[in-house]
C-alpha cells in the first residue's frame, strides 16, 4: 500500500531530504488492490448505467416537451404532451427541507445526549431505541402519520399559520383563524405534515452518524477541556462540536438524501396537486417519488417515459446533494479543527 511516512526532519541537517520510499507490492497486496479497485469501478459503472438507463428511457418524453419546458411546466398531462417537473421537484425539495429542519435539532441533541450526557445504562438503551427507529418500515410511519399525527398536528399548523402567516411560507389560502367554523382540513395533507413524518425516518440515520463521530472525540482533548475548568457544555462546544462538524454535516446530508426519495409515507399523507405550492402548511403538494409510485401502474408510452424523466431529475438532485455532502465532509475532516 502506498503510504507516506512523515519522517521527522533531521535536526542536524539544514536542508532535510526526505528518504525516498520504494513501494514493492506483494501478491496479496496486488490482489487486494485489484479487488478493491474493481468493486469501486463496479459501483461507479452501476451509477453511470442507472443514469444512462434513465436518460434513455426519458428521452421519448423529453423529446415531446423539450428539456426546458419539462423543467418549468407545473402540470402533468402526459397524454396531451403538457407535463413538467417544476411543481413536483419543488414539493420534493420542500418536504426534504422540512424533514431535515425538524430532524436535525432532534438528532443532534440526541447524539450529544447519548455520547456526552447520558449515564451508561441509559446510553445503551437509547442507542437501541434509535436503531429500532431506523428499522421501522416506512409504511408504518406513513400509517402513523395518517391516522395519528395528522389529527394531532393540525393544531400546530393552525398556530403557526395564525401567528406567522405573514411569512409567505406559512400562508394558507382559505384559512380563517378567526372563524370558529373554519375547516381544519385546509391544514391537512400538507407538505409540512409529510415532512414531519419523513423527519421521523430521517432522524435515526442522522443520529447514528453524529453519534459515531462524537464517540470518536479524543479522550485526551475532552479530559483536557475539563481539566482547564470547562463545564460540560463548554467541552461540547469547544471540543465535541468542532471535532464532529464533518459528521454532523455528512449525517444531515445523508438524511436529506433519504428524505428526497421517501415515497410511501408521502403517498399516504399528501394530497397530490400539480400547482406550484410553496405554502407548506396548506393541503396539497407532490414529490417525485410519489408521482412515480402513484402513476407507474397507470400509464404507458409517453407517460411512462415522463416518469423516467422525473426519476432522472430526482437522480440528478440526489447526486448533487450527496456530492455536496461529501465535499463538505472532505473539507472539514472530523477533528481537523481541533487537532490544529
Amino acid at each position: 500500500m502506498t503510504t507516506t511516512i512523515d519522517v521527522a526532519p533531521d535536526v542536524h541537517d539544514a536542508t532535510p531530504q526526505p528518504r525516498g520510499l520504494q513501494v514493492r507490492r506483494s501478491r496479496g497486496d496486488r490482489a487486494f488492490f485489484g479487488g478493491v479497485s474493481f468493486s469501486g469501478l463496479v459501483v461507479l459503472s452501476i451509477m453511470v448505467a442507472v443514469g444512462l438507463f434513465l436518460a434513455i428511457q426519458a428521452a421519448q418524453a423529453l423529446r415531446v416537451t423539450g428539456i426546458w419546458s419539462f423543467l418549468v411546466t407545473a402540470e402533468w398531462e402526459t397524454d396531451r404532451g403538457k407535463f413538467g417537473i417544476s411543481a413536483v421537484l419543488l414539493g420534493t425539495v420542500l418536504i426534504a427541507a422540512v424533514a431535515v429542519a425538524v430532524a436535525f435539532p432532534i438528532s443532534l441533541g440526541t447524539a450529544l445526549f447519548i455520547t456526552e450526557v447520558a449515564p451508561n445504562w441509559l446510553r445503551s438503551a437509547l442507542i437501541a431505541l434509535v436503531d429500532l427507529m431506523a428499522a421501522v418500515p416506512s409504511v408504518v410511519y406513513g400509517l402513523w402519520g395518517l391516522f395519528l399525527l395528522e389529527g394531532q398536528i393540525v393544531g400546530l399548523s393552525r398556530w403557526i399559520n395564525t401567528w406567522f402567516g405573514w411569512i409567505p411560507l406559512f400562508k394558507v389560502a382559505g384559512a380563517d383563524p378567526n372563524s370558529p367554523l373554519a375547516s381544519a382540513t385546509v391544514y391537512t395533507a400538507s407538505i409540512f405534515i409529510a415532512g414531519v413524518v419523513v423527519a421521523m425516518m430521517v432522524m435515526p440515520i442522522q443520529c447514528v452518524v453524529m453519534r459515531e463521530v462524537f464517540s470518536q472525540v479524543p479522550v485526551g482533548e475532552r479530559e483536557g477541556a475539563f481539566a482547564l475548568g470547562s463545564t460540560r457544555w463548554g467541552m461540547i462546544r469547544v471540543v465535541a462540536l468542532p471535532f464532529g462538524r464533518g459528521g454532523i454535516i455528512g449525517g444531515s446530508m445523508l438524511g436529506l438524501g433519504r428524505a428526497l426519495g421517501e415515497t410511501i409515507a408521502v403517498l399516504l399523507i399528501l394530497s397530490p396537486s400539480f400547482n406550484i405550492n410553496f405554502h407548506i402548511l396548506q393541503a396539497g403538494g407532490n414529490s417525485v417519488s410519489y408521482l412515480i409510485a402513484s402513476r407507474y401502474n397507470e400509464t404507458g408510452g409517453v407517460g411512462l417515459s415522463a416518469l423516467f424523466a422525473a426519476g432522472l431529475a430526482l437522480f440528478a438532485v440526489t447526486l448533487v446533494v450527496n456530492s455536496t455532502a461529501s465535499w463538505f465532509v472532505a473539507r472539514s475532516r472530523s477533528g481537523a479543527s481541533s487537532e490544529a
Binding site: E75, E77, D79, R80, L146, F147, E150, G151, V154, G155, L156, R158, W159, T162, W163, A173, G174, P177, N178, P180, L181, A182, S183, A184, T185, V186, Y187, T188, A189, S230, T231, R232, W233, G234, R237, L267, L268, S271, P272, S273, N275, A283, G284, S294, N297, E298, T299, G300, G301, V302, G303
Partner: protein, 608 residues
C-alpha cells in the same frame, strides 16, 4: 463410562430421529393446503377498490377450498394496465377497457378475443360525509344530484348554501366549508361518477372541466381533475380514511357504500327522478339496476355484458339510487405470459364461487347481489377461461337473494318503498344512513311529518300526513308508504329552491314500477337479507321507521336551535396546550443556552 457415553449418543440419535419425524409430521400436517395446491395454483388479481370489500370476502372464503387468491385494490386503471402487462392473472374493473377514452388519455389496447367480462358485484357509489351540527354528527343529509355535482366541481363551497339548505328542511346547515375528497389514482368510481355527471348535468361538468384546464377532453375520466380546495386521496380506503378523521369535518367523498358501512359513517341520500331521496341499500341498488342496459351481443367480447346506465340515471321508481352500477372481473381467455391452464383452473373455481355462493354475502357487506340472468351469463363466460373445469351449477342452489322461482328479481321486488318523509318537500326523515343507520339526527319540528299517534309501533311509517297515502298498500307484498304517494304533499312552500335540476320531481308518483308482485313469490321470501337498519318484515311488508329508535319520539324533543354557530367558542389560536407547548420550547432553549451563557459570564468574570 463408555457405556453411558454410548447411551447418550444413542439417545441423541433417537431424539434426532424423533425430531426429524416430528418435523416431517409437521410438514405433513401443514401440508393439506400444499397438497391441494397441486390442483390449485396461487393466482393474483388487481384493480377496483370500489369492489375490493366484496372480493376480499370471496378471497377469504375460498381459502378453505385451498384456493389462494392475491388481490391488490390499487384502482381499476392500474388493474386493467397490469392485466394488459400480464403481471396479474385477472383484473377487477368498474369500467371496461378504454378503447376510445373520452378524456384524452392514451387508449388501452387489449388483444382482441383475449379477455371476457363478467359482472361480479353490484353496488352504489355513495357520498360519505363528515358533518356536525351543534357538536352532533349529521346522519341524514340529503342532496340533489345537481348539488352533488356542484359540490364536486367547486361551485357550492359552503354547507349552508341555500341550495343545500333546501334539500334539508329539517337541518340548520352550518356555515362550514365543504371539502370535496376525490380519488387521486385512476379509478372506476371516478369514471362512473363523471359519466353520471356528464349525462345529467353536462353544463356543470363542462364548466368544471374548463376551469381545471382539461378542455377540450371533457369526456368521462378515471382521473378526477382537482382544483384548489379539493383533497385527493388514493383508493376508496384513502377517501374513507380521510373523511372519517376527526379533523376532516366538512369533508365529503365518493366511495362504495360498503366503505361507509365499514367506517361507520353516514352517506348522502341522493335525490332520484321520482322525487325521493334514497340510500344505496342492496335493495335499492337491485331495483335501480333493473334499468341498466346490459349488452347482450355475445359475439363481441369487447362489449358483451358491459353496462349502459342511462336508464338507471333516469329511472322513475321511487326506490332508485341513480349511481348504482356493476363492477366486473376481466378474465383471460387465452394462455399468455404467466397465465397458464393450471392457473385457469384455479381462476375458474374462484370465479364460479364468486358468481354463485359469494352472492349471498354481498348484501351484508353493502353490495347488491347479481340478478339471475347475469349469473347465468357469467357462468357461460367462465367457460372461456383456458383450463377451467366446467361445472354445471343449478343457480337455485346459490342461495342468491335475488332468485325467485318465477324468474323475477326477488330482492328488487321486495325492496321497501321509501318513507314519505324521504320525499322531496318540506319534510325530512331523522333516520341515520349506512354505517350509522341506528343513529337518528334531530330534525326541526317544522320538518317532521305531523304524527297523530306517535306510539303506534308498527304503523307503517305513520303516514297519515294528509296526503292520504297508505290504504292501497296492505295487500301483502306491497310496502308501507307505497304506491300512490300522490304528488302534492299538500304541504307548504315545497322547496323554495327547486333543488333537483330539471328533474320531474314531485309530480311523479312512483307507482308504475312498483310491481307488488303477488303472492306467487312469497314462498321464497325468507332468503331476503336486510343488512341495514330498515328491518322490514317480508311477510307483512311493513317497515317501521328506524329500527333502533322510534323516529318521531327521538326527534321531537330536539327542535334544533337555529343559532348553531354562535355557541362555539372563538378559537383565536391560543389554548392551554399551545401555551404549554410554547413554555416547553422556551424551557428547552433556556436549558440549552443557560449553561453556555452562565459559563461565559463566569469566565469573563474570573480574570477580573
Amino acid at each position: 463410562m463408555i457405556d453411558r457415553h454410548h447411551s447418550t449418543r444413542r439417545r441423541s440419535v433417537v431424539v434426532a430421529a424423533l425430531l426429524t419425524l416430528g418435523f416431517a409430521l409437521c410438514l405433513c400436517i401443514g401440508a393439506p393446503p400444499s397438497a391441494t395446491a397441486r390442483s390449485y395454483q396461487r393466482i393474483s388479481g388487481e384493480g377496483s377498490s370500489w369492489a375490493a370489500n366484496a372480493i376480499d370476502a370471496m378471497r377469504v372464503n375460498v381459502r378453505k377450498f385451498g384456493i389462494t387468491v392475491d388481490y391488490n385494490p390499487s384502482g381499476s386503471t392500474a388493474g386493467r394496465k397490469n392485466f394488459l402487462n400480464g403481471t396479474v392473472d385477472f383484473a377487477a374493473s368498474d369500467i371496461p377497457f378504454q378503447l376510445n377514452p373520452e378524456d384524452g388519455s392514451a387508449p388501452e389496447k387489449p388483444a382482441p378475443n383475449s379477455y371476457a367480462y363478467i359482472p361480479v358485484v353490484a353496488g352504489g357509489t355513495s357520498f360519505m360525509y363528515n358533518l356536525q351540527i351543534n357538536g352532533k354528527r349529521v346522519t341524514n343529509l340529503r342532496l340533489s344530484g345537481q348539488n352533488i355535482s356542484k359540490i364536486f366541481t367547486g361551485t357550492i363551497t359552503m354547507w349552508n348554501d341555500p341550495a343545500i339548505q333546501a334539500d334539508n328542511p329539517g337541518l340548520v346547515m352550518p356555515a362550514r366549508t365543504i371539502v370535496p375528497v376525490v380519488r387521486s389514482d385512476g379509478s372506476g368510481s371516478s369514471a362512473q361518477f363523471t359519466m353520471w355527471m356528464i349525462s345529467q348535468y353536462p353544463d356543470i361538468w363542462n364548466d368544471f372541466c374548463n376551469r381545471a384546464g382539461k378542455a377540450p377532453a371533457c369526456g368521462y375520466t378515471s382521473f378526477y381533475p382537482t382544483i384548489s380546495g379539493m383533497i385527493a386521496q388514493s383508493g376508496d380506503l384513502g377517501i374513507a380514511g380521510y373523511v372519517s378523521q376527526g379533523f376532516a369535518e366538512g369533508a365529503i367523498g365518493y366511495v362504495n357504500y360498503s366503505y361507509a358501512l365499514g367506517s361507520q359513517f353516514p352517506v348522502v341520500k341522493l335525490l332520484n327522478k321520482a322525487g325521493y331521496y334514497t340510500e344505496p341499500t342492496p335493495q335499492n341498488v337491485a331495483v335501480s339496476l333493473l334499468q341498466a342496459k346490459i349488452n347482450t351481443d355475445a359475439t363481441d367480447p369487447a362489449v358483451y355484458l358491459t353496462q349502459q346506465l342511462d336508464g338507471v340515471y333516469n329511472d322513475t321508481d321511487s326506490r332508485n339510487y341513480p349511481l348504482s352500477s356493476y363492477s366486473y372481473f376481466i378474465l383471460p381467455t387465452t394462455v399468455a405470459g404467466q397465465f397458464n391452464t393450471d392457473k385457469g383452473q384455479t381462476l375458474g373455481a374462484f370465479t364460479y364461487y364468486a358468481m354463485c355462493e359469494a352472492q349471498q354475502d354481498s348484501a351484508s357487506l353493502g353490495y347488491s347481489p347479481l340478478p339471475i340472468n347475469l349469473v347465468q351469463a357469467g357462468f357461460d363466460q367462465i367457460r372461456k377461461i383456458p383450463g377451467v373445469v366446467v361445472k354445471d351449477i343449478d343457480v337455485t342452489t346459490c342461495h342468491n337473494p335475488t332468485f325467485s322461482p318465477d324468474g323475477s328479481n326477488l330482492l328488487a321486488d321486495t325492496a321497501p318503498k321509501p318513507q314519505a318523509c324521504d320525499q322531496q318537500g318540506a319534510y325530512q326523515c331523522p333516520d341515520g344512513t349506512a354505517g350509522v343507520s341506528n343513529v337518528p339526527t334531530a330534525i326541526l319540528a317544522s320538518a317532521q311529518i305531523p304524527v297523530a299517534a306517535p306510539t303506534g309501533d308498527a304503523t307503517p311509517a305513520a303516514t297519515p300526513t294528509g296526503d292520504g297515502t297508505p290504504a292501497a298498500a296492505p295487500s301483502g307484498e306491497g310496502t308501507p308508504a307505497a304506491n300512490g304517494t300522490p304528488a302534492a304533499n299538500g304541504t307548504p312552500a315545497a322547496n323554495g329552491a327547486p333543488a333537483a335540476g330539471g328533474a320531474p320531481t314531485t309530480t311523479t308518483p312512483a307507482g308504475g314500477n312498483a310491481s307488488p308482485n303477488g303472492s306467487g313469490s312469497k314462498a321464497f321470501v325468507p332468503v331476503l337479507l336486510v343488512p341495514t337498519g330498515q328491518n322490514c318484515d317480508p311477510d307483512s311488508g311493513t317497515c317501521p321507521a328506524a329500527s333502533g329508535a322510534p323516529a318521531p319520539a327521538a326527534a321531537a324533543p330536539a327542535a334544533v336551535s337555529p343559532v348553531a354557530s354562535a355557541v362555539l367558542p372563538q378559537s383565536s389560536g391560543w389554548n392551554t396546550s399551545l401555551a404549554l407547548m410554547l413554555l416547553i420550547v422556551v424551557l428547552t432553549i433556556g436549558l440549552v443556552l443557560a449553561p453556555a451563557v452562565a459559563w461565559r459570564h463566569l469566565s469573563n468574570k474570573a480574570p477580573a
